[in-house]
């Protein structure tokens, strides 16, 4: 089904009641996909959020008189006199959202956890009344429960015009307690130090960071299209500052991405001799740590005014810097003996593989282009400094040089997010973000079955 991705998960440990609850949540998630598909339109930078003939200037002008125009949860349409008007999602999709809310209420009644039940009821209400902030706060305050569940308009990646409008998505998963405990330890190690702040910047301190690794049962809407392996919410900086944030790693999606994309990329990009030094298990661990570090570091790089300053360039810098800072943090972990050299190498290798797969994914799905541009920037630094030596599409990395590049890139990205202007960001992306850096690898990458 379009806009939906399901994963097989083990439900042996669930009671009959919990299985029914899970079914209701999965069904609710499935019903959100058609709403997302009505928002999506790759032909226009503003997707279907704005009239296709409306210019950026016209929208900005209308927003000055009516702030609802650039509200994250409204469609912008023309009325009979061709004036721009804003229609809230919850009114536009009233009919479609009612059965979804009903399913959430039924699931809430089946839950043994009062807090999770309260959280579900709030989600249901928010879908119908548009008060998403209230339900987000309830979710942030709720302790981790057995089920991981999100539904609603959340991510802004479809709106390439203003990076404002949120697209619908949902996911359902079951907590992997053992993996979550390991991730918690990792988080504590990363967050232990106090980073220096660039003076003059409006850095936001995230009050607390919850963490969970889920065995995901379903992705629906935007997340199914993007196949995230992890996420850190909320996106609203002010909410994050006041109530903290929650990080989720989607194990099922990660396993699938690792098997279909990251590992096959490793096998075609690196020399056979180099490949023999790393087992599949070591590389999977590297892939998991790569995304875990990325999501943890999202909490460390929040600047109050970054989105306004960098506009459509913001997600490129935000996503890339979270990867780069995550890897940079591993340097200290290596020195502390929390990671060994082989483990750090596996993280670096998987980062390089991810760079290639983001580019390949962006060919099929232009909505993930900002990740691919970020990947191209990293790749261009690695090639320029000789950290990756490219010989007819096959490579052998120099880990010491890779780390030097990461350090250099980290300082540059931090500047752009902390203080940089829109023009500076554009210049940086124009200079380093070309997809040409991937092209000589293409004949080899084309051998990956999932990419043909």
């Amino acid at each position: 089904m379009k806009g939906i991705r399901k994963f097989k998960i083990d439900m042996k440990e669930l009671s009959q009641r919990e299985k029914v609850l899970l079914e209701k949540l999965i069904l609710a998630a499935e019903l959100i996909a058609p709403l997302y598909l009505k928002q999506k339109n790759d032909k226009y930078p503003g997707a279907n959020f704005y009239p296709h003939d409306a210019t950026r200037e016209e929208i900005e002008k209308a927003a000055k008189k009516n702030s609802a125009i650039l509200n994250p949860y409204t469609f912008v349409e023309r009325n009979k006199s061709r004036k721009l008007i804003a229609i809230p999602y919850h009114l536009k999709f009233k009919k479609e959202l009612k059965p979804i809310a009903k399913l959430l209420i039924k699931a809430a009644k089946l839950s043994d956890s009062k807090k999770f039940s309260h959280c579900l009821k709030n989600r249901a209400n928010s879908l119908l009344n548009g008060n998403y902030e209230k339900s987000e706060i309830v979710w942030l305050k709720t302790e981790p429960s057995k089920f991981g569940f999100i539904i609603g308009p959340i991510e802004r990646y479809l709106d390439k015009l203003f990076f404002k409008k949120c697209a619908y998505q949902a996911w359902v998963g079951i907590l992997d307690e053992e993996r979550t405990k390991e991730a918690e330890k990792f988080k504590k190690m990363i967050l232990t130090g106090r980073r220096k702040i660039i003076s003059g910047s409006e850095k936001v301190d995230v009050s607390k960071l919850g963490i969970r690794i889920d065995k995901t049962a379903i992705f629906s809407g935007l997340i199914a299209d993007f196949m995230f392996t992890g996420t850190n919410l909320p996106n609203d900086v002010n909410l994050m500052e006041k109530y903290g944030s929650k990080l989720t790693i989607f194990e099922s999606s990660l396993i699938s991405k690792f098997k279909e994309d990251h590992l096959p990329t490793f096998k075609v990009v690196f020399t056979k001799k180099f490949q023999k030094s790393y087992s599949e298990a070591e590389l999977y661990e590297g892939s998991l740590r790569c995304i875990l570090l990325h999501e943890i570091c999202h909490s460390l790089i929040r600047y109050r005014d970054a989105e306004e300053r960098l506009r459509n360039f913001f997600p490129i810098f935000d996503e890339l810097y979270a990867y780069i800072l995550g890897i940079k943090s591993c340097g200290t972990l290596l020195l502390k003996g929390a990671l060994n050299q082989k483990e750090l190498e596996a993280i670096l290798i998987m980062h390089i593989c991810r760079n290639f797969t983001w580019w390949l994914d962006s060919i099929k799905n232009p909505d993930v282009k900002h990740y691919a541009i970020g990947a191209a920037i990293a790749q261009s630094f690695f090639l320029k400094e000789g950290a990756i030596k490219e010989k007819g599409g096959i490579s052998w990395p120099d880990f010491t040089k890779l780390f030097i590049c990461i350090d250099e890139l980290s300082n540059l990205l931090e500047y752009h997010l902390a203080l940089g202007s829109y023009e500076e960001a554009k210049e940086f992306v124009d200079e380093h973000g070309s997809f040409d850096v991937f092209k000589s690898f293409y004949p080899h990458l084309a051998k990956i079955p999932s990419k043909i």
């Binding site: 190690m189 232990t192 200290t332 010491t400």
Partner: protein, 159 residues
């Protein structure tokens, strides 16, 4: 004869090891005192016997490890006052590593737990900082990462 490896432990760490040793010894005694499953089950080896042997072997290995630790243990003690401005085992160090301020306690490998700010003396940071004084900067080198590390403050709590 090669010198046996020393195990550095805090008082609490030593108590923990001693307790584990006593617990495992009692468990082994209880296991061998009880009825031992028969080796053969008709013509096949009895799976219960295999499981019993496996458990016992695991216990014996761990007990031997703990005996070796207890034989070669060296208790971490705070140095005399005049040497408390030098990083040694048991020191809590405030340091600047690659621009980040961090605080950790230097312990032996057995008690190392970086997520709880306990760093092993055998880690690159441990090796680089041991014997350094307040204000000293040292470059800690590994095959991948080279970071400068400045010691800002050293303190010794009662161990």
């Amino acid at each position: 004869m090669p010198e046996e490896k020393k195990f550095y432990l805090t008082k609490q760490g030593l108590e923990k090891i001693k307790k584990e040793y006593q617990d495992l010894k009692s468990l082994k005694l209880a296991k061998t005192k009880g009825e031992i499953p028969k080796i053969w089950h008709s013509e096949d080896i009895n799976p219960e016997y295999l499981s019993f042997r496996e458990d016992l072997s695991f216990l014996e290995t761990r007990i031997a490890e703990l005996e070796n630790i207890l034989k070669n243990v060296e208790l971490i003690k705070p140095p005399p006052k005049e040497r408390q401005n030098i990083v040694n085992l048991g020191a809590t160090v405030l340091a600047e590593i690659d621009g980040e301020i961090d605080e950790f306690t230097m312990v032996g490998t057995l008690e190392a737990d970086p997520s709880n700010h306990k760093i092993s003396n055998e880690s690159p940071i441990g090796q680089g900082l041991l014997g350094r004084r307040v204000g000293e900067t040292v470059v800690i080198k590994t095959p991948i990462v080279n970071h400068s590390c400045k010691t800002i403050k050293i303190k010794y709590n009662k161990i």
